[in-house]
Symmetry: D2
Subunit: 96 residues, 4 copies
Amino acid sequence: MAMTGPYKYSKDKAPLLSRIKKIEGQARGIARMIEEDRYCIDIVQQLNALSAAADEVLLLILESHIEGCVAHAIHEEQGEAHIKELMATLRKALRR
Amino acid sequence: MAMTGPYKYSKDKAPLLSRIKKIEGQARGIARMIEEDRYCIDIVQQLNALSAAADEVLLLILESHIEGCVAHAIHEEQGEAHIKELMATLRKALRR
Amino acid sequence: MAMTGPYKYSKDKAPLLSRIKKIEGQARGIARMIEEDRYCIDIVQQLNALSAAADEVLLLILESHIEGCVAHAIHEEQGEAHIKELMATLRKALRR
Amino acid sequence: MAMTGPYKYSKDKAPLLSRIKKIEGQARGIARMIEEDRYCIDIVQQLNALSAAADEVLLLILESHIEGCVAHAIHEEQGEAHIKELMATLRKALRR
């Protein structure tokens, strides 16, 4: 399905990369909380925050995918396969 | 709410820490995919996998919290506040 | 696993039943929106609201399950099987 | 944002309406389970199934929205606002 890149997100990678860096830091922070025997519920809250941060990146990449790849395919009258792929991806994200 | 630790999860930290290490590695892998202009949908799938992995750790910590802190509190006739805190945490996790 | 009822939620069914009635009404409202060719995104929002309402009932029943069945089992030193069942249920709810 | 209908889903309402009817039946079934003092976890599983069924309808309507309204707007060079609206809707669905 993948058009040959670069993709729309590629034009502005810095904010995505800095969000991912932050998620990496959140993971390290959670490891430290476990090592320090911190309270279970506080750790669960940090895991929640990490997943929510990953979902934000997911939505940003999905948005640029729709604005870029999907819109381009629709213009070229080849939207159908891209929309099927998009829906399969959304189904997995909703069902995760 | 937090009883003074160590908590039940503390007795077996190694598998939790290795899961978190893996999540950290997934985050680094996603950063690399972005840097290498990989296809949007492939990145979204990896973000999904990362969140699913974080949810697994969340469930493991929650399980040991219930078996440990909550069960202990129930035995001491002090379950009510712990169950309220647990439900608030579940509500946030479901609603994330 | 099921202890013989009545269960804790049974002592106060009215609010649960009225929430379920409301969900039934939401479903009927969505059917009507479809019949009236209403805008897709407005229908999606109502479906979201319906699922959120179902999740609220789910959390209420789960709370009374923990306060009732699970707490009782823990008191009787039979918490383990109940907690396993609870975690399997939470895993499905998170992963839905 | 709403284009004037009828929308793409309108051309094939029968399967959507039959799914909604089934959800309505699931709600009635859950009310009956509560009235009959059925086991908490069994009720929670049915609530999970109801939400999953609502999510399936949500995905179907979203798919026809993207194939219809969004694709049309993209063809008319007016995709931007529709994509913003779509992303806001996806954010709410993921975060529900």
